[in-house]
Amino acid sequence: MAAQKLPLAKALNESLRKALETDPKVLIMGEDVGKLGGVFRVTDGLQKDFGEDRVIDTPLAESGIIGTAIGLALRGYRPVAEIQFDGFVFPAYDQIVTQLAKMHARALGKIKLPVVIRIPYGGGIGAVEHHSESPEALFAHVAGLKVVSPSNSSDAYWMLQQAIQSDDPVIFFEPKRRYWDKSEVDTEAIPDPLHIARVVRDGSDLTLAAYGPMVKVCTEAAAAAAEEGKSIEVLDLRSMSPIDFDAIQTSVEKTGRLVVVHEAPVFYGSGAEIAARITERCFYHLESPVLRVGGFHSPYPPARLEEEYLPGLDRVLDAVDRSLAY
């Protein structure tokens, strides 16, 4: 396999397969990841090819999944744990925040915790409660964790490889509504580093910064704005911890305007952190305040309302217009 078009979920599957082939210490564990191949089929066929010892169906206990993944990592394994849905991660939150994130520091660096936690996240699939949330800020806030999210198949493939190779715990948020979107994956390419942002569309009037499922919305918004003569630059941040502030700064110094877009609630969201830091770094370059588009300070709404809740083309363009109006 060299370059080919793959759905994002299939790219993840290929990436996991590659990791299992390359490193005998890599394990996959989670609810329904084995025989079923995961509820989104991201691990489809892996147990059949690598056995129950390496692709492990776990009891339905998220804290147990992460707690035992920590123990396996201490024994020298590299577990890739799946949390079935974003809203199911919280029983494991204690193990992730209290144990996993801090253990390397508590041992003064003498032990490493190469644990990857894959979490399908975000809305837009018409799901029931607890299946559409975007809790990335709750993890990015915690020192000791790294948090990333791919927006396309190539990044899905490569960023997962890099996350598994990392000696740090990585929370890997998968944009579940993009699982079926196809884009090119070159498995022989030289990938960008894991934590850098990427310009996915050049522009000069305003910068749109997004990650995961919102990158597509932003590139579509930029294309729509172009028809009105507005030149929008789109940044795919890719990593929420660390955030590539240098890349955002470079873009904002050029455009003078920044709108950050995410599905997660705006309040205390990653957009707030970006706004604060970019205001500090680019104060004399900014033509308007940094604006944010995201979820409301509400529980994720029932599926029939999610179109209104999620930032779509119109809400992004509205923010673009408000920024340009300053």
Binding site: I66, Q95, R106, A143, I243
Partner: protein, 382 residues
Amino acid sequence: MTVESTAARKPRRSSKRVSAAKKPQSSEPQLVQLLSPEGQRVEHPDYSIDLTSEELRGLYRDMVLTRRFDAEATALQRQGELGLWASLLGQEAAQIGSGRALRDDDYVFPTYREHGVAWCRGVDPTNLLGMFRGVNHGGWDPNTNNFHLYTIVIGSQTLHATGYAMGVAKDGADSAVIAYFGDGASSQGDVAEAFTFSAVYNAPVVFFCQNNQWAISEPTERQSRVPLYQRAQGYGFPGVRVDGNDVLACLAVTKWALERARRGEGPTLVEAFTYRMGAHTTSDDPTKYRHDDERAAWEAKDPILRLRTLLTEEAHADDAFFAALEEESDVLAKRVREAVRAMPDPDPMAIFDNIYADGHALVDEERAQFAAYQASFAEEGN
């Protein structure tokens, strides 16, 4: 110390050795006991132990030195050298008995009170004091002595032990893993999940619960309606209650449970029935919630005194041994005292060390900013 070679290997099913008349009265049901509170050897139908005089003296020495170290740490807290201390007073037999049942290649996941187990693993006692002094959060290399960092959040480590044991099984090794926790922790979801995971994966792990009767101010009755060892039955593995103040029984039962794990028979729950003679920590005041007469009743079951009685009455040790041990205790206490007082505060820049193994841009940025801020004071001072 080589008690491994002579301790109980297998439960003995013969009941011929038991003499009901000789069996001491015990108020607790189904308590495995091999050494009575009065210092008499007793037989048990399922567990036995046969130790040399030297090995018995070794267990005694371990318990005495651990208690002396513990007392010194309490004193150091009172002197302001430590911010906090969690005393193990009264639990020496549970910790030394189980700790001496381990092989070097076994792995220990402790709470924050396993000073006696740490001693058995060869962890320098002064290493335990860093976190209580406030100079680190643990800091020792867990792989040096196969002794994980102290875990403060109750019960979390039982899952780490289970995962580690799953890894041991995957490696095809015959090592075992032991997870320490308390009666309070038995209520935690993580402990229940550890029981589930270890059972369904048949992980080679021993859950060693020191039921010291009190979770700060809450008695065990606040945690469970059934004796804790019976919890194991619901998960499909054996649970045993052992006299936690009987070092011989703790050694024999833990040894048996470890051997089960090594043979691929899966997890075991050992409930060591003991008593926290002191406060929960130096910040606690047990007079607010328990009576002195309860403590007095347990004092009569002291783990060290009963072994001393055995050593003396059966002539395993002479006065010279006890005198030398007292001297050794004082030397240890002095060494600990001096080491703690000499323990330097960490460099402020250590805040930024070891947060990530592969680095993190924000940490680098904040480190540089803080270094510049610190340096600005140095310049002012010049």
